[in-house]
């Protein structure tokens, strides 16, 4: 498949970059989630007498996607936050037409010499955890602080009023459409979330949508170099991302350290300091319950994709099995503790 893509990608890039020819070398598929096919490659070309050798990433829509996500929103988010000087890869080009590579795609720079943590790896950050933890939660605070109107993202999907309800309704619809068997814990969570709405959002912000350990690149010195996977970005409550980031599934089996990085107190303090916002405990608890429910909805969809044979990526089976069981346990423990 890679051999098929490479010459077409080369032709596309030559046309887009306005050069006579581009050599696409080493095109290799890498892990990058089930919602996009991700490839690494080198693009070499001459322009104005100068030789270029660029390391790039291709993110192409798969034949069937786990969650329908808006690739132009993802591309625009990369663009907006890269411009702000945040650790985000530079986006190069977005192509919505199916012609060049059969499905829509975008290309961005590759951040090299970095590591991404596996969610099922215990203590991936080691001694770098405090340093990375400070950056991780501060960067999330800076995303929350950014004004969507000023960075050109005011028209992202989402609700400016009662975003909590918009989000619960969205993920309930996913479960309605994709569940293969009754889900009593997910249904109980949805009812609890609706009966106990959170306080109004302190502001409307850009929500990354999947901000977590495993979705950023860091170097050997413990510097976060790239926040990735903006495919579920939308407008909403700043606490939504914080609730997701500290969800136990991303803790690398250490319940004392959200995201496997720092204590809960430090995580919240770093976020509050960078965002200028408050993580009021009752509101944050609501968004933590929501985070696990959203997780369940995604894993239920993954199980459906796999079960129906639409997308046999083993990530879908793993999500629909391991992650679904994990979040059922988290929600059952938390909701029973509050007498839901």
């Amino acid at each position: 498949m890679n051999d098929d893509i490479a010459p077409r990608l080369a032709a596309y890039l030559a046309k887009t970059l306005g050069v006579s020819a581009v050599d696409v070398d080493g095109l290799t598929r890498i892990s990058g989630g089930a919602s996009r096919e991700t490839y690494r490659f080198a693009a070499r070309y001459y322009r104005d007498g100068r030789a270029y050798d660029r390391r790039l990433i291709l993110r192409r829509d798969p034949p069937a996607s786990l969650i329908d996500t808006e690739r132009s929103a993802e591309f625009r988010a990369y663009k907006a936050f890269h411009k702000l000087g945040m650790p985000v890869p530079e986006p190069i080009v977005l192509e919505l037409d199916n012609g060049p590579l059969d499905r829509p795609f975008f290309i961005m720079e590759e951040i090299q010499h970095c590591t991404v943590a596996s969610v099922i790896q215990p203590d991936p950050y080691g001694a770098l955890a405090p340093k990375i933890g400070h950056q991780f939660f501060s960067t999330l605070g800076r995303i929350a602080k950014a004004d969507p109107d000023k960075i050109g993202l005011s028209d992202l999907e989402g609700a400016r009023e009662n975003s909590w309800k918009h989000e619960v309704d969205r993920w309930e619809r996913e479960i309605d459409e994709d569940e293969r068997e009754p889900q009593p814990i997910a249904r109980a969570a949805i009812r609890w979330l609706k009966r106990n709405p959170p306080p109004p959002a302190q502001k409307v912000c850009v929500v990354h949508g999947d901000y977590r350990s495993g979705n950023f690149l860091y170097d050997a010195e413990g510097n976060i170099r790239a926040i990735l996977d903006w495919e579920m970005t939308h407008l909403g409550d700043p606490l939504e991302d914080l609730g997701w980031a500290i969800d136990p599934l991303w803790s690398h089996f250490n319940p004392e350290r959200p995201a496997g990085l720092v204590s809960r107190e430090h995580a919240i303090a770093f976020w509050e300091q960078a965002s200028g916002l408050k993580a009021e405990p009752r509101a944050l608890f609501w968004w933590e319950i929501f985070a696990s429910l959203k997780g369940l909805a995604i894993w239920i969809s993954a199980a459906r994709e796999y079960g129906d044979g639409r997308n046999a990526d083993p990530v879908n089976l793993f999500s629909g099995w391991y992650c679904l069981a994990f979040h059922n346990k988290v929600l059952a423990d938390r909701l029973s503790a509050v007498g839901a």
């Binding site: 890498i30 009593p184 009812r191 793993f318 069981a325 346990k329 007498g339």
Partner: protein
């Protein structure tokens, strides 16, 4: 040779994880092969324990629903609960157990939703009983990763 499928799957999983995946080119292919190895490990456990887990859970759900009938005043729900009392799993085939499990959980969702509309002590106690069973079920269904 007995068809010790769990052992076959375990051995295959270990081969994939320790011998085959490391030899593949780094990237998606290698990552997927490793993940398939982990999934085969899940399958091994499911082969050995899947029927027991489902049969036990179905029995727990039937006991729970039978106890909940006393707390339910809704006639339509009482009829459904009464119908469940005498039911049994059609067989120990996973598909039959899954079918029963889905029917029982569907009814449990209805009963739990109904009980959440009431604030009396009987309803509160019944809700606690439901959560106790859901917690136990969620714990029993947790999937263990290799080496964890």
């Amino acid at each position: 040779m007995k068809p010790e499928v769990d052992k076959i799957l375990e051995t295959t999983a270990i081969q994939l994880l320790t011998q085959i995946a490391p030899e593949l080119p780094a990237g998606y292919t290698q990552g997927s092969a490793g993940l398939i190895g982990i999934l085969l490990g899940f399958c091994a456990n499911e082969y050995e324990n899947g029927a027991e887990l489902r049969a036990s859970e179905n029995a727990e759900l039937r006991n729970l629903l039978a106890e909940l009938e006393a707390a339910v005043e809704d006639v339509r729900l009482c009829v459904k609960l009464g119908a469940v009392m005498g039911e049994r799993d059609a067989s120990l085939k996973i598909s039959d157990l899954n079918y029963s499990n889905a029917q029982l959980k569907k009814l449990l969702i209805d009963v739990q939703t109904y009980l959440e509309t009431r604030n009396d002590d009987q309803a509160k106690l019944a809700r606690r009983e439901i959560w106790a069973v859901l917690k136990a079920s969620a714990k029993a269904r947790l999937v263990k990763l290799p080496g964890m």
